[in-house]
């Protein structure tokens, strides 16, 4: 690595433009378009319902409204998604809305106020279904299936008595011999931990502009993305056009933290710009961003741990259930990543973990800083404190005794050969915290 940068304070190349206000974020580009149309999205009025009918006639009469697009205008649209294509661009007649962020109609007008008025005039007829509020409900026998066409073959590690219709994906680890490990333990400690939804809250919400290049039949989209090539490919497959017909131009992002990995404004804008052959802008508001775009996954985590009298971990068993919300997004990858962190930076010979992501009618969950490891980190280190407290170990000594070192194996079976500094980190924390032996939390 270059000595020019490592250990040096390097100035961000774009910082100056950001302190003097010149950096161009999506909304700052608006003034460059003279004939910009404004879009507003009508979203699902209910988190789980069939759309029986939609009437846009009054919306079209609002002065300034140029068009109202529904699924009927684009019969060939495909679903989209980062890993599994399970999310509809628009919910059509006879189709199901699965969370409050599902888009039902796109209102395009000469100004934002007209688009808002138009949206108010759209009439929907829906058939409400049972709402699946949490993953435990989703796994109860007889629970309604959220994705009817979803078919999963679960592993033998899952309890066969539960309903698997709403399980998006499941993963397991089985290393060493957990039963033997528990037999060797002097104490077995079991606890359950829960985490909640977290909003990434990038300061700039999802905003975008799209235009149509008649000559080259290209759609140009100015909108932030964390995966610009994946986003391009996903837009193209959803619309059924070649990738090279979608041109993404990345304005300054304005924060993302995982939230901008998913498609947001892109396909809606692309469709409208192509149909109307005019530039169109879509600016989410903060509430819309919170309702329609991804969250950090809430997890229910159970750890069962075997420990010897001397404080050595002999077995670690984890079950984790993750609420992935209405659509897959990054869920299958997040659940795997969380699982591989189940016992943290602590050496355990015998590890078994079963982790699954479950569909509900909540806002879908995706990527956020740590990508599943954060929730697991909250649980395993709390669990280490619980064990230390119950067995009267010093929490630092207990951690040091079990911490990864060169040659340790992770739950996933990777051997760690270099750069292992868990012990140094724990010692540094020990020093910085002024922890005295015998100190107690309470």
């Amino acid at each position: 690595m270059s000595k020019k940068y490592i250990g040096k304070a390097v100035k961000k190349v774009d910082a100056q433009a950001k302190v003097n206000g010149e950096a161009e974020y999506t909304e700052d580009l608006i003034n460059e378009f003279s004939d910009l149309l404004h879009m507003r999205v009508l979203r699902a009025p209910h988190p789980h319902a069939y759309l029986k009918d939609i009437d846009i006639s009054e919306a079209l009469e609002v002065p300034g409204v140029v068009a109202v697009f529904t699924k009927a205008d684009f019969p060939k649209l495909s679903e989209f998604g980062l890993i599994i294509k399970d999310q509809p661009v628009l919910v059509g007649k006879g189709e199901k809305m699965r969370f409050l962020g599902d888009a039902i109609a796109l209102v395009v007008a000469e100004n934002d106020a007209a688009a808002l008025r138009g949206r108010e005039k759209i009439k929907l007829d829906i058939e409400e279904l049972e709402i699946v509020e949490d993953p435990l409900q989703a796994m109860e026998k007889g629970c309604i299936q959220i994705h009817e066409d979803h078919d999963i073959e679960v592993t033998h590690y899952l309890n066969k008595d539960m309903c698997c219709d709403n399980i998006l994906s499941d993963n397991y680890i089985d290393r060493g011999d957990v039963e033997k490990g528990f037999a060797e333990a002097d104490h077995i400690i079991e606890r359950e931990y829960k985490t909640q939804f977290v909003e990434q809250l990038p300061l700039q919400v999802e905003k975008g502009i799209a235009d149509y290049d008649n000559e080259n039949e290209e759609i140009i989209i100015w909108a932030a993305s964390q995966w610009i090539h994946d986003t391009q490919a996903d837009i193209a497959q959803a619309m059924g056009v070649p990738k090279e017909k979608i041109r993404l131009k990345q304005p300054v992002i304005g924060g993302a933290f995982g939230k901008k990995e998913d498609i947001s404004v892109h396909i809606h804008l692309a469709l409208a710009a192509r149909e109307l052959k005019r530039p169109v802008v879509l600016l989410y508001n903060r509430e819309e961003s919170m309702i329609a775009q991804s969250k950090r996954h809430p997890q229910i985590i159970k750890h069962k741990t075997g420990v010897t009298r001397e404080g050595k971990l002999t077995a670690w068993e984890t079950e984790m259930i993750m609420d992935t919300g209405a659509y897959a997004s990054s869920g299958p990858a997040v659940v795997r990543n969380a699982m591989f962190h189940c016992s943290g930076p602590y050496q355990v010979e015998n590890v078994r973990a079963v982790c699954y992501a479950v569909y509900t009618n909540n806002t879908y969950c995706g990527a956020m800083r740590g990508f599943g490891a954060t929730q697991m980190g909250f649980s395993y280190d709390n669990h280490m404190d619980v064990i230390a407290t119950e067995l009267d170990f010093d929490p630092f000594e207990f951690r040091l005794k079990n911490a990864f070192a060169i040659g340790s194996k992770t739950p996933g079976g990777e051997e760690l050969n270099h750069g292992v500094n868990v012990k140094e980190t724990i010692e540094a924390v020990h020093e910085a915290s002024n922890w005295q032996e015998g100190d107690k939390d309470d």
Binding site: A15, V19, G21, Y25, I253, A256, R286
Partner: protein
């Protein structure tokens, strides 16, 4: 309706609709896009400008209410030659800028703070900036930047 105000030391007369917000007028009618909209409800502070000398959330000011007012935005901190202000430089030097969306608003509140108090304590900086939300840096470097700016001003003369 027409309104007249002074922005960044220039008098402007603008045709506005009663329902427009000051933020819309500054960004769209005047093309000064440094002030940002992060929430539209006065929570985040990205739209902060100085209105008659005090920081305000310009998304909560109805445009006609700015008639006769004096407004300062980040664009107004640049010198006539276009050089950045020592406060802006301090944000660069302290590494306080990441995604940058909060920075124009944060700089305006900091600017007002340093006008009032040449040498604020870290706690006073925190309190002053409580209405400017940042999601990237964790605030430490922003506070460092304001401290650094204060030192520079102490050494190099007063706030303009």
């Amino acid at each position: 309706m027409k309104i007249t105000f002074t922005i960044n030391n220039k008098e402007k007369t603008v045709e506005v609709s009663p329902h427009q917000r000051l933020l819309d007028v500054i960004r769209k009618e005047l093309g000064l896009t440094a002030a940002k909209e992060g929430c539209g409800k006065g929570e985040c502070g990205a739209c902060t400008v100085l209105l008659n000398g005090e920081p305000v959330a310009s998304c909560l000011v109805l445009a006609p209410q700015a008639d006769g007012a004096e407004i300062l935005t980040v664009e107004g901190l640049l010198s006539e030659e276009g050089d950045i202000h020592p406060l802006q430089q301090a944000f660069l030097d302290a590494g306080a800028v990441q995604c940058g969306f909060c920075i124009p608003g944060t700089i305006m509140t900091s600017y007002r703070l340093l006008q009032e108090k040449a040498n604020p304590e870290r706690q006073e900086i925190r309190e002053a900036l409580a209405g400017n939300i940042c999601r990237c840096t964790g605030y430490q470097k922003i506070i460092d930047a304001v401290e650094l700016a204060a030192e520079k001003w102490q050494a190099g003369g007063e706030v303009q």
